[in-house]
Symmetry: C2
Subunit: 221 residues, 2 copies
DNA sequence: CTCATACTCCAAAGAACGTTAGATTATTAG
DNA sequence: CTAATAATCTAACGTTCTTTGGAGTATGAG
């Protein structure tokens, strides 16, 4: 009885460790973060994570075996997606824990936003209220496909690489809030910098769709 | 710029992976689960996890380097504890994800409770209401030190190994709800089995203090 | 059919990890 | 003081994991 109890426990903890093994590699975490933005092909994932296609495929296989992602074949491409929103919630959870516990990570994140702020950071609920009343303009600076897969309410799509050409569409009489994939993504930081240089009042909103949804706020598709 | 962006991202994800590495070993997960019950010495942890003292020490060092646990020396003993409730919340989070995604784990858990239920399982809020009104008796069957470190409201301490001798203290006119360390712990299962054999109406409550607290319910100390 | 593309499978090298044993450091008991 | 206990450190073994290169499938284009 003592013996079987130990065996059962070993089995149970080993199962949870399968999830742990899936998230102990930086590249796999980055792939999960990317997949939080919506379905993507292996090729696209490899390019955005800065790794070879073969390596991406291998990592995705690991994630698939842990049932964190699933695949769909369409033509020549294989598209991967998270198996559910709980996986995205988990990514938000482990990243939050790391941010809270690891001073190195806090320092690195602070560097991203060490530039002077004209406007103070917002909470999700505050932003939702302001956006609803039209007091701010919310920009989604991710690629269009990610915007289509799900975006913040009242947000307008304005991919980072089109931003310079489309400045005329933006208002000078109210603040602009730019967001992207989340705290580890640099696109909204770049966008806010560019806009501020051009004389707009812009801030970066740290959260992405995954964080927004994990906090129980609504996402538009 | 492209290059530094990649370097920053690599650094950020590598930091989160430090947490992932800490939870990719079954033994380390079990140690975290045990520490959710309160502060414990290395010796105690090693014994309860069924590993050697040396190995426990090595794993605890890993957890300490990830800042998930911290140590305190008292006399000849070193006592470890979680660095905060967010670590316990994370354990609940990764275990829940595993339960949801891994069919093997679901099957193993179902085996634990395949015995016929006289009473249906309860939610945390339901239990709290019943306990408050005195409609059920709540038993904490963990070792006394864990009860003292924090327990469910209205719960009475009744360690599993004392249960047989103290049956006279238990009521026959209302249901008894036994809980222990959580879903992976077998103590409450055993307790409920024993009580039902002896003619009491008893059920096992799956959640432990960590799950209870993670759901926002109050814990008594 | 042939070719290019997108991806997966297999094998191999090197790095990292889990585990155990032996020696070492603190602390308490006698 | 010496002996015993609790824990850590170091070294070493075998194992697993990451990453790359080469070969092999499926799909679509010409």
């Amino acid at each position: 009885m003592e013996n079987t109890g130990r065996q059962v426990k070993d089995l149970l903890y080993a199962q949870v460790a399968r999830i742990g093994k899936a998230v102990c590699s930086p590249k796999r975490l980055e792939l999960i973060d990317l997949l939080c933005q919506g379905e993507k092909s292996v090729e696209r994932l490899a390019e955005e994570a800065g790794i070879s296609l073969k390596l991406a495929s291998a990592h995705l296989k690991e994630l698939r075996q842990a049932h964190l992602v699933e695949a769909r074949k369409e033509g020549k491409n294989v598209y991967y997606r998270l198996t559910g929103n709980t996986v995205a919630d988990f990514w938000v959870s482990i990243r939050s824990l790391a941010e809270e516990r690891l001073l190195d990570l806090q320092a690195a994140l602070d560097k991203l936003t060490e530039h002077p702020h004209e406007l103070k950071p917002l909470s999700g609920k505050e932003l939702l209220g302001l956006a609803k009343n039209g007091e701010v303009m919310v920009l989604d600076v991710r690629p269009p496909s990610e915007y289509e897969a799900g975006h913040l309410p009242y947000a307008q799509s304005m991919p980072l690489d089109e931003l310079k050409k489309r400045l005329s569409e933006l208002p000078r009489d109210k603040p602009i809030v730019a967001y992207c994939r989340g705290p580890f993504c640099l696109m909204a930081v770049e966008a806010a910098e560019l806009l501020n240089k051009k004389g707009f009042r812009a801030i970066r909103f740290e959260e992405g769709v995954a964080e927004w949804r994990a906090h129980g706020l609504p996402v538009e598709v």
